[in-house]
Structures are given as structure tokens and as C-alpha cells.
Symmetry: C2
Subunit: 406 residues, 2 copies
């Protein structure tokens, strides 16, 4: 008997009817002879409503209490799904993160899973129960409730799949899988049947919002295959797994884009050791992630330093950088928040020349100016003007013939 | 430093503003130099909304899952109150019933508290925290969540007061205390400064809805004084405690009334042993409480048997009694659901003659027919027509001069 972990996102369990429909999907997996664990997110916008409540009673709700409050959202959806399954005649039991043995550190609102003690879960599975587990939450050694932060429920699902050596972790959401490019920009973009963990990580980090990189990393580490599919259709979805390296396939797998980008340029920086540290250390202390960093070749020991941050962080970042400018003797700093990233991703690009050149030539032919370039082994990213993202994505989709390989 | 347990009902924490107002009351108790534990109910009609959700996904939600679902209501209000206190600059921490060590049997939806293990609560008090505890819930030995049924949050509060040897348990609600009669019927009815446990139990069982008898019994057993007061005013409220027997005071303390009454009369019952058991045992098995039972003197070995049940149970009770009628050879049974109980309650009535006679005379003078009479040592109850309840209550309030002694 195989063990399957399924996870349903908030939009998949947004109301009573949807929960009943999810129950039928879960029942089907059970009927097919599997042991089934289901991880659920909170219903629809429950989490936002709970946050609103918290702000009605407190200007700055404490993290411990906020975690307790938010954790109730997933408890509610898990118990409703268990009821819906019982109503269909199946044995089901809901468990909180604490009951399911999801043990975390005590970093409230962004806790990390330390270990999973699946004793109770195994016990319930052995009794023949479908086990429904509240996602996004865990418990500290002191039995205080924590939440896992972004991508939390996906991480709960993968962690349970790892701890119980599940055959597969299935992530059901409101999209049908991973596309070669965003279908809102490229209507003909095809859905990928399969994508490698590394590729998915690069796509997720560069704008494909299907899964949080954190859960993908965990799955990669323990080699658990993930199916991403829609809970609203029977479309087959995309499998994230170790690459099918024996297969001849397209080298560029997908095009990611992200408009949450802002650029800061520090002009007239004296080029001597310690300058970069003086600028970036205060940003790190303020938890601001700096992405691309480019330093121009120095002319007469004066250079320009350009870097990007998330657009949400721009105001905070500028307020930190501006006082530093004076102390290091730079001239001024300039912000630009009208930018976007466009990336091509594919493991096959490693050790194969020509992809970068083809990307740059394609954008040039469209008249799109490249402001900054950054690369990893399996990704090339260009920072361009935000209003050309759609043109860029469509042109790259054509140039790399992605419609053929989806 | 004294320890006080406060409990706030659902209407006292129904929205963000009310929770902030409760936080100010709690803070005041802390400022006065007390250690403070607060037990909260779910906000306003949260519990009803959760039950509605359950019925959207299941025709008959399982008790275990329903308890998990309902328990979230009190977790939400407890954590919001903790946030509101932190916002006022106080150290506060919320605990679920499980965290507070409220250990119960596993009778879901009506669990009984087995013991309280207040280790964590004591620990948090010693750190200087105000401890906010989710009422109405506990946890089984297997760490499954239970709810305590009717009067659950009051019982949580008293149980904690007992376990921690608190100086007092304060129950804050939407009424200002215990009145000598229902102010909706008798506008001049006075509020009692003090009432004995036994008197409160009789009043509660016979229609005064301020506190559930269960919590009063527990307080009596361990002699914990209870203050019942409004969370919406600074009015002093009523103290429920061992009687102040040294005090000369009015012997009738209050008038209770209850319209949830129906009468069943079985006509033409053969008067031989075993008949009463044949009628009442099936009702007990169906969890129907039978209240007053009256059997007429038998004429030619034929008698009539009359008893009352809660009006909500009448249809079920009739469906159980009707088949029994035939099997025991009785003639027929007749139901009447237009009745009500009116009771006078007071410990001083014990061993003092004349109260019953005065009550009957008062009702007679008002032209109110008494259908059945039932008494305890400290209570006399008359069952009368529902449409005369107001007249009866007003007349009894006058006759026993309750306006003087409130």
C-alpha cells in the first residue's frame, strides 16, 4: 500500500462546497488503495481576516500571539475536511501541527521545522484513517504554537512526505501546473509535464509563483517527487523531480518574470576596500535582500555601484543607503522602481554556449534595452524596463521554441 | 499577592472594541496588585457560525471533529485579548485548554474535567504574565481536544480558581448580577448583593440564566466565592458564596421562572408495581429529563400519572410514551405545552412554615390556577399557565417584599 501526501491550498478549500469537492478527490486517492495524508491551508482569505482582527486590538500584535491566532485558520479547514470525508463514509481524523509532531524552532511567524515525529500520524494511518493535518504550523519544545511563514503549508506537506517516506507529495492549487511562461503574458505557453528541482527553484525564485522554493529544496534534498496540479480540474499537472537526464529535451525549460524589482545606483564611489561592506552590511542587518550587484570598471579610482532590491523594500533601503553615501564619500544615489526581471531557466543550458547570446539578440531585435544581467549555472536573467516584460516574454518564448516542448 | 480568576462571556468580547475594553478591566485588576488569570468565551456568535460551517460540509458532523472546530473560537478570543493587553503595555500570554492543563474525559461535546495540571499557568504567572486561557475546552489523555458543553467556560474558570486556590472567581457577563426576579417581568426587581450557593443552584435550575449550575456546584464544593457582574458597567454585581447565616435577612431570596415546560398526562393507568418504571426508563434512555412527577390517588386501581419535561423534548417524549401506553394498558396520554414554572427560592425557608401557603394564596388572589406543585428544601415551584407568568412573578415579588431586601 503506497502512502501519498496531498496538499490543498486556500483557494481549493475556500467554502463548504469546495471542501466537499476536495473530500471527493481525497476519497478517490483512498479508493485507489493508498494510505492518504492531507495537508490543508486556511480557507480562502481567513488568514487576512484574522490579521485584520489582530490589528483591531493591537497596533503591533506580538508574534507569539499572532502565530496562535493564525494557526486556528488551518485547524478549522482541517477539521471541516475530516467531517466532509466522514460524511462520505470514510474514516478520517484531523490533527493540528502539534498533534502531527511538526516540531519547530521558536522563530515565531517564520519557524523552521526541526524534526517531524510522526508517531500519532502513523498510528492513525494504521487504524485505516485518512489523516488531515493543519498546514503552516508547528510547535516548539515548550508546546507553543508557531507558524512556518511563506510557503508554510507546502513545507508541511513535503516534510511529512519525507518523514513517512511517501511515494509522492501532491500539491493541489488553483493553477494547472508549471508553464513554460506565464499564460497571462503568453497565451500559447505550454504546461510542462516534468521539471527538475533545480529548474523549479530558479523559476520560483525568479517569478513563477506555483511553489515556494523552500518546499522544493526540501523535496530535492530527500528526492521526493512533487506533483503540482489544479484542484479544480482533472488535468495531469506538472511533476517536479530529479531530472530525466537520459531524455533529449529542450534546453530552456521556462521563462520567469518578476516585477517586484527596484534598482539603486550609488554614483561616484571611491574605489577602495571596504566600500561594498559599508553599503551592504546595514542592508543585511535590516533583512533586506540584495539581488544583482554590478560595479563598473573604475575610472580614476571612482566607480558606480548598482544593485537591485525587492520593490517593496525600496523606501527602507534608500533610507539606509543615503546616510552611508556621505560617510564613504560617494556623490549620490538614484533609485528606479520601473524595472522587471526576465529569466530563461533550464538545466540543459549548463556547459552549452550560445543561450545568453541568443537571449540578448532576441531582446535587442525587440528594441528592449538590457539594464543589468545576472546568471546562475542554469539561469540567465536580464533586468529591463517593466513595460516591456510582456514583449520580452513572448519574444523569448518564440525564440526558444517553447511551444514545441511543453 | 492575591490570585484572581476572571471570566468574560461571548457578548463581552464580541468585537475588537469590546476586547480592548475588557483588556482595560483586566489591566486594572493587575494594577491593583493581583496575579490575574482570565478565561474567555468565543467572540459573540462565533460558535454558531462554526456550527453552521460544519453543517455545510456534513449532515451530521462527528463529535470529535466538531469539538476541534468549536475550540478554535475560544483560542481566537484568548489570543486577541493577550494582544490587546500587550498593546496596553502589560505582559500577557494566551494558553489553549490543553496548554493550561485542563484534562478531561473523552466525552466529546460534554466532557467533564478530570483534573487540572496548572504547571504551565503557574510558570507564566511567576514570570509576571497575565494568563489568558481559552474557556470551554480541555484535552484527553491522548491529547485530543474536547469541549465541556453548556456552562463550559464558567466551569473552566471555577476549576482553575480551585486548582490554583484563587481568592475569587469573577464571572463578567452582560447582566449586572442576580436579581430577586427577572427585571423584564418586574422592573423594580432588586439586584442581590449576595446569594448562597444552594440558592443560586435552585435559581439557576429554575430559570435564572446567569450561571450554569455545574460551575456553581464546583465552586460550592471547594468554597470559592464567585462574583457575577457586568463587563459593561462598574456596578458591583452579586457575590455567590456560603450563606451569611449570621445575618438577619429576607427568607425568600428570589423568584425564578422558566417557560421551557411541557406537561404529559397519562390517563387511566392500572395502579400496580412496575408501571412507573415502564414509562420513565425509556425516557431516561433517550436522555430526556423528567422533572415534576405527580400520581393521583388511585380509584379502583386506576390512576392518572402526570409529569413535566422540557418543552424542547415534548415531541420526542410523546413518541416514546405513546407506544408504552398500550403495552401497560393505560387509556391515552395528553400533552400540554402552554405551561411555565414559577419558583420562590431561599435557604431561610427551611424549617420555617408558611411560605408555601403564602405563595399559593398570592397566586389564588391573582386568579392563577396551580396545575402542579414541586418543592425542594429551599424552593417551592408552581406550574401555571404560561400567559400568567408575568402576573405571578410580580405578585410574588410584592407579597414577599423583595424590593426591600435586594
Amino acid at each position: 500500500m503506497a502512502l501519498i501526501v496531498q496538499k490543498y491550498g486556500g483557494s481549493s478549500v475556500a467554502d463548504g462546497e469546495l471542501i466537499k469537492s476536495v473530500a471527493r478527490r481525497v476519497a478517490k486517492a483512498k479508493d485507489e488503495g493508498n494510505q492518504v495524508i492531507v495537508v490543508v491551508s486556511a480557507m480562502g482569505d481567513t488568514t487576512d481576516e484574522l490579521i485584520k482582527l489582530a490589528h483591531q486590538v493591537s497596533e503591533q500584535p506580538g508574534e507569539r500571539e499572532l502565530d496562535v491566532l493564525l494557526s486556528t485558520g488551518e485547524v478549522i479547514s482541517s477539521t471541516l475536511l475530516a467531517m466532509a470525508l466522514e460524511n462520505l463514509g470514510y474514516e478520517a481524523v484531523s490533527l493540528s501541527g502539534a498533534q502531527a509532531g511538526i516540531q519547530t524552532d521558536s522563530s515565531y511567524s517564520r519557524a523552521r521545522i526541526r524534526r517531524v515525529d510522526p508517531k500519532r500520524v502513523v498510528n492513525e494511518l494504521n487504524k485505516g484513517n485518512i489523516v488531515i493535518i493543519a498546514g503552516f504550523q508547528g510547535v516548539t519544545a515548550d508546546m507553543d504554537v508557531t507558524t512556518l511563514g511563506r510557503g508554510g503549508s507546502d513545507t508541511t506537506a513535503v516534510a511529512l512526505a519525507v518523514a513517512l517516506n511517501a511515494r509522492m507529495c501532491q500539491i493541489y492549487t488553483d493553477v494547472e501546473g508549471v508553464y513554460a511562461a506565464d499564460p497571462r503574458l503568453v497565451p500559447e505557453a505550454g504546461k510542462l509535464k516534468e521539471v527538475g528541482y533545480e529548474e523549479m527553484l530558479e523559476l520560483a525564485s525568479y517569478g513563477v509563483k506555483v511553489m515556494h522554493p523552500r518546499a522544493v529544496e526540501l523535496a530535492e534534498l530527500y528526492n521526493i517527487p512533487i506533483l503540482v496540479a489544479s484542484s479544480f480540474s482533472d488535468s495531469p499537472g506538472t511533476i517536479i523531480c530529479k531530472e530525466a537526464s537520459m531524455e533529449v529535451r529542450n534546453k530552456v525549460r521556462g521563462i520567469a518574470h518578476d516585477t517586484n524589482v527596484a534598482k539603486i545606483t550609488v554614483v561616484g564611489v571611491p574605489d577602495h576596500p571596504g566600500i561594498a561592506a559599508a553599503i551592504f552590511e546595514p542592508l543585511t542587518r535590516a533583512s533586506i535582500s540584495v539581488d544583482t550587484i554590478v560595479q563598473n570598471a573604475s575610472v580614476e579610482n571612482i566607480t558606480d555601484l548598482t544593485f537591485t532590491v525587492a520593490r517593496d523594500d525600496l523606501v527602507k533601503a534608500m533610507s539606509i543607503v543615503e546616510p552611508v553615501i556621505k560617510s564613504i564619500g560617494a556623490k549620490r544615489c538614484v533609485a528606479d522602481s520601473t524595472l522587471a526581471k526576465v529569466s530563461i531557466v533550464g538545466t540543459g543550458m549548463q556547459n552549452t554556449p550560445g543561450y545568453a547570446a541568443k537571449m540578448f539578440r532576441t531582446l535587442f531585435k525587440e528594441g528592449i534595452n538590457i539594464q543589468l544581467i545576472t546568471t546562475s549555472e542554469i539561469r540567465i536573467t536580464c533586468i529591463i524596463s517593466e513595460d516591456r516584460v510582456k514583449d520580452a516574454t513572448q519574444a523569448l518564448h518564440r525564440a526558444f521554441e517553447l511551444e514545441k516542448f511543453a
